[in-house]
Symmetry: C2
Subunit: 237 residues, 2 copies
């Protein structure tokens, strides 16, 4: 009665721009031309041109030389793409045996081709999951997305704390493969047992298996900045 009265019908490029801008807005305040260009791997003038078209379409607002912000319509379209991407990643992982490091690329292509109906059928087959395999929240069909819990980057979790890995960027397959090779997945709990100063590595301890063997790992600062964690318990000294 209220669903898709409006046909989506944006071009592949448009969808990519909206998604990239949405993701930049989640971090920054306003998305800048060069950041968009880098995210989409195009030259900055291409972004200027596309931004003009998108703002004429009412999908975003552009303050020349300052940056860009999604309108309500733009955000709605972007969240639709995020939902598609994350449902696809979850489906491919759960139902077709993909690893969490290889789904991103496949979803990146499919998200432009699936129908709303297929997305909903996949979501149903999965039992309407709330998170994708990397821990990112899946927007609802109505474009609502969970407020990110107050997660800390692993590089910021104080030594001595116990924390749970909650989210990893899906962008870098090598990173994901390496993280998985350490036994780290979304939901895994570990203790931060040390950290070197000057952006040095963080040491963590995992209790793995039923035998409770302990595995210690040293994680470089760069990598630790890509792991979002929920602090569980354990007070600092």
């Amino acid at each position: 009665m209220s669903a898709d009265r409006k046909s989506p019908g944006y071009s592949r490029s448009t969808e990519d721009y909206l998604k990239a801008i949405y993701e930049l807005e989640s971090e920054d305040r306003a998305a800048q031309t060069s950041a968009i260009a880098e995210a989409l791997d195009v030259a900055p003038p291409s972004v200027s041109g596309m931004v003009k078209r998108l703002s004429e379409s009412g999908l975003l607002e552009h303050v020349p030389y300052r940056g860009v912000q999604l309108t309500r319509a733009g955000r709605r379209a972007a969240l639709r793409m995020m939902r598609r991407h994350r449902i696809l990643e979850t489906y491919l992982t759960s139902k077709l045996g993909y690893d969490w490091d290889s789904v991103h690329e496949e979803a990146e292509r499919l998200e432009h081709a699936v129908s709303d109906e297929l997305v909903e059928r996949m979501a149903m087959a999965l039992g309407y999951p709330q998170y994708d395999p990397h821990g990112a929240p899946i927007p609802t069909k109505d474009g609502e997305i969970e407020e990110p819990a107050d997660l800390l980057l692993l590089s910021e979790v104080p030594v001595g704390q116990v924390a749970e890995l909650r989210m990893v960027s899906d962008r870098d397959p090598d990173l994901l493969r390496y993280v998985a090779s350490l036994g780290l997945r979304v939901g895994v709990v570990f203790e931060v047992i040390g950290r070197q100063p000057f952006r040095g590595p963080t040491a963590i301890r995992l209790a793995v298996g039923h035998g409770r063997e302990q595995h210690d790992h040293v994680i470089g600062h760069e990598l630790a900045e890509h792991l979002s964690c929920l602090v569980l318990e354990g007070d600092v000294v």
Copy 2:
């Protein structure tokens, strides 16, 4: 050791042209410009232009004013698309609850976006099916396709014969819905109990359910020309 050493990388349009030309060649001898134009719903000059580009790419051979034929490379690419399309239709039907009348459109978009790996994963999940939900043979990964059995159109099956429905075009959802509503699916066996002259309708009798109730249907000539059947037994008078 021999698989996909060559990256496919054809445009969506190119893939559509190759598929359409392949399908026309399966019927006609050589595909003509106007037939391609009609199949793809574009104007004939668009076909002329695209044919020039495709033959420069070595995907087909063009005899001006005469028609077009796929080269070996063109046929290989076309069969790859046919495999994708038919695996997708089968997957959507078997695993995601699509009806046979609604899968074509979805597959038509997805076939350009899925990776070879995803196609193979779907095929594996399905147990490497040989036919899609409409009875069309699925080419192998190596581009081999089953020779069509000597099927007769229902409009040509002699009265008195018992036959099995083997294949229906996937193009027209309304037709498929109607055919299904008669209880006709691929594999259903029936007897041809009559036919009116001058391209008149054909009457068939189905034994349905375990109670062996008989259902008779009258099928217009146009529709009967879309149903490919294997004659099983029963001699003509």
